[in-house]
Amino acid sequence: MRKALSLWLPLAGFGLLFALAPTDLRRAVFVERWPFWAGGLAIGAFVLLLLRGTGQPLGVSTGFADACGVATHPELRRSWRLPFIAGIVAGGLVAALLAGGPHATWSAGLLEAVTGASLATKAALFTAGGALLGFGARLAGGCTSGHSILGVSLLAPSSLLATACFMAAGFAVTRLLLGGL
């Protein structure tokens, strides 16, 4: 398989599916949440497609570091991670458009039990949480993509330990905030 096909084949496949699939199938693929096995299959296959197509191992949080550094380090403008993270935003938009959206929302979902309806409180919680994600990912050397999906699939000890820490803290903080502990 030629390397370029790793990208164009899936893009063309989903394009054709959207254009030609009967209504039920199109709904299942583009509107309904995929069943866990289909979502896992897609994300697992993506790791392989990216590596085969570009030689790059999946990772997102390093892209944030490149974005932060690009102002002072002009050579980072050539980092593949910048178009990659921009593409992830576009992917969310495309998914929303194909599902009939996007439907803009300020909802925090279940976490509104913690924040209430106030936008200021939500902004504070999500900014603080985001800062923990950004700082923690750099300190741990990776995030859910690089450590928990790719690293764990390689059975890398560092990634197994990092993922255990992600999960333990996530579990504890959620219990603390939303009861049960």
Binding site: L50, T54, G92, A123, A137, T144, S153, S158, C165
Partner: protein, 141 residues
């Protein structure tokens, strides 16, 4: 560079369709109420693990070097997990949420940039201190 944008697009699309960008699914996983995302992650890991071995054996991809054990792995991992729970989001899904119109992701992504920049300032010093403490602990043994 365009192909990396295309790969990002595909990844964001998959994250959204898999339901990984739904903060409630992450909160639900940690409450053990909704194991959908645990299933997504498990299958993704399995597919990647088998696929990487097959592609490697067929000579289609280079071996991927595992990430190193580094000082700060545990502390960083715990901070990351706390942020994961507070936002119901991780770095990849936060970006896709922006595109989807989940507007609180503006704060999550802004916070991630802040935290990353803060690490740029403080990270090296913290890791030096953590490494020194580990060395001292080893010597005490």
């Amino acid at each position: 560079m365009l192909r990396f944008f295309g790969f990002g697009l595909l990844f964001g699309f998959f994250l959204t369709r898999a339901g990984a960008t739904d903060g409630d699914a992450i909160v639900g996983m940690f409450l053990l109420d909704d194991l959908h995302l645990a299933g997504v992650m498990g299958v993704a890991i399995g597919v990647a693990a088998v696929g990487l071995r097959v592609l490697r054996r067929a000579g289609l991809v280079e071996a991927v070097a595992p990430k190193p054990m580094k000082p700060g792995l545990v502390v960083g991992g715990l901070l990351f997990g706390a942020g994961w729970a507070l936002t119901g989001t991780c770095p990849g899904t936060g970006l896709a949420q922006l595109g989807e119109g989940r507007l609180l992701a503006l704060f999550t992504v802004g916070g991630m940039l802040l935290g990353t920049a803060l690490y740029g300032r403080l990270g090296a010093g913290i890791e030096r201190r953590l490494a020194a403490r580990r060395t001292r602990a080893a010597l005490d043994l």
